[in-house]
Amino acid sequence: MTFTPTELEAEGAAGGEATGDPASSSPPASGRRLVRAFMRDRAAVACAAYILVVVLMALTAPLQVLLSGYGPLEFDQSAVDPNLGGLPLGWGGGIGADHWFGVEPGNGRDIFARIVYGARVSMTIALLATALTSTLGVVFGLIAGYFGGRTDMVISRIMEFLMAFPALIFMIAVLSALPAENRQALLVVVISFFGWPYLARIVRGQTMSLKQREFVESAKASGASSAQIIFKEILPNLSSTIIVMTTLAVPGYVGTEAGLSFLGVGVVPPTPSWGQMIASSVSWYAVDPAYFLFPGAFLFLLVLSFTVLGDRIKKIAESGEARS
């Protein structure tokens, strides 16, 4: 399965090992340096720009639909040809001044409106799932790594169990068995439930090595509590790892949401989702490839942009650490 975040994260594990000394680089200077390094990278800037466009699309969906004139749920029978089984009239699946990206065959819903609203679903679910997995992953990773012993053993076993679990089959089974209401929140919970161990494993490993360092020992000697040590001494040192891992996780979740919707257990119709659009384009793609092309391209580019961005951030973070 290409869209499990596992593979990306396995790699992050290999790269994220080095943690720099925070004392030798002052944060503001390094921040500016990182931004400059980032701006020089044309691919990264292009990807960031595309993500920004999708985010804006998602945020201003109702406005844009006002501009284009058709809502995501509006049927437009005048745009399809009933004699041809509902094939869109005109070139490229009915692309024109009325319907910027054409219409869906059959019922004539505006593809532009559905893409824009689909972006909303896609981004909301992916970002919420990322936030939830990161929180869980960081908290459990810190606890397991810092306290060690029995706590560590229990958490590690749970992580092993979750990672051995055939998550995709299970997500589909659970989602298809559960009632359809509030499907988006459910998706976030289910994705995060299986997603957090991949970050937690790495945070745990780094915490274990950071725990041995002198600054932690000195904090301990000066009487700091466990909570103080974890949040004030160890957590700041993990920030670059966490940033890199989260950026690398987002594309996985975008893909997972689209994949589950593609399989028919994700976002329920009539709420538009890119994966769902791709699924319904399957029976039309020989005669109306544009219907497949738009959601397919938007989805692919979004995942690609996040992947490239994560990759670049990782490189910049690593080189920054090596230099400091």
Partner: protein, 332 residues
């Protein structure tokens, strides 16, 4: 070594038991009453009770779970008296929909999934490792940057998007491949091969990209090791340095992730099999989920978890054989 093995086996059993329990609880709590579904439209309360008794659904949860678990090892008997049906170990129960034994259904589909997995694995290993090596040799040059760009693209294509695009391009537009048909190998080997070609490509691209990056990173890192420098300083030919000193340590991590990926794939490539209409374990899972066929879903989930756990263990054992630096005692 024996202690290490015993430890691992125990851990494996615990994980599998938890997977069993977890799936069982979820389905026990969530799914609608299967007896009502089986009974159909013209149903009486007595008939429902009869079905529930036959399937053992009238017993308390723990008893049901225990029966299921013991059925895995010693088999179980359904019904009583003349109607009794013997289900031999490993018994996963009977499908609610087709009344066939689940074990048989899975075994029947396993060859297709295995064919898909093996072909894809060969492809991605060959492509991934060789591209990674080329990339590492030409580090920083155009070829390297080109390959790195390709891998990012490969990792980002959702496999169903790739599958549909390939099908559109190769079958509909260009006509290079025939339309997929279910043909046994013995009848028409060429058509058979063509059928599997697209699933193989689709499944291997994402993995090949990951393997390329991994190989590249490992080789570059190994080439900076002191012992490689020593070997070079001794005047060994570059080819020998590569073969003897650089490749082996660089490729060991590949073994680890390969074992897990391959085991995961054996348990069924759900999306790819569904898109291409291949009758493998993945398609079985997808179909039984839509039909709410609980025993089959349980069976497939268990099989997949079993494969992943066994794959993990095989990898660990292999690792100690390949990499002398890993000592069994400390690793456990």
């Amino acid at each position: 070594m024996i202690r290490f093995l015993a430890n691992r086996l125990l851990g494996m059993a615990v994980v599998l038991f938890l997977v069993c329990l977890f799936t069982y609880v979820i389905f026990f709590v969530l799914s609608p009453d299967p007896a009502v579904q089986i009974c159909g439209k013209n149903c009486t309360p007595e008939a429902i009770d009869q079905i529930r008794a036959n399937l053992g659904l009238d017993q308390p949860f723990w008893q049901q779970f225990w029966t299921f678990l013991s059925g895995l090892f010693v088999g179980r008997t359904y019904g009583t008296g003349a109607n009794a049906v013997e289900c031999v170990a490993p018994c996963l129960g009977y499908s609610f929909q087709s009344s066939q034994p689940v074990t048989g259904m899975i075994l029947q589909r396993l060859p297709v999934s295995a064919t898909v997995a093996i072909g894809a694995a060969v492809l991605w290993l060959l492509a991934g490792v060789s591209a990674g090596l080329v990339s590492a040799v030409r580090e920083g040059k155009f070829t390297d940057r080109f390959i790195t760009g390709l891998t990012l693209t490969g990792m980002s294509v959702p496999n169903y998007v790739l599958a549909l695009s390939l099908q559109f391009l190769l079958v509909v537009t260009l006509g290079w491949l025939p339309f997929p048909q279910a043909v046994p190998f013995s009848e028409d080997p060429l058509q058979w091969f063509m059928n599997f070609l697209m699933p193989w490509i689709v499944l291997s691209i994402g993995a090949a990209a990951v393997y390329t990056r991994l190989t590249r990173a490992n080789v570059i890192e190994t080439l900076q090791e002191n012992y490689v420098r020593t070997a070079r300083a001794k005047g060994l030919s570059p080819g020998l340095v590569w073969r003897r000193h650089a490749l082996r340590p660089a490729l060991t991590p590949i073994v680890t992730i390969f074992g897990m990926d391959f085991a995961g794939l054996l348990g069924g490539a759900l999306i790819t099999e569904t898109v291409f209409g291949l009758n493998g374990v993945g398609k079985l899972a997808a179909d039984s989920i839509t039909k709410n066929d609980q025993p089959v879903i349980m069976g497939v989930t268990l099989l997949a978890a079993f494969l992943v756990v066994v794959g993990n263990m095989v990898v660990d054992l292999l690792y100690t054989a390949i990499d002398p630096r890993v000592r069994v005692g400390s690793a456990a």
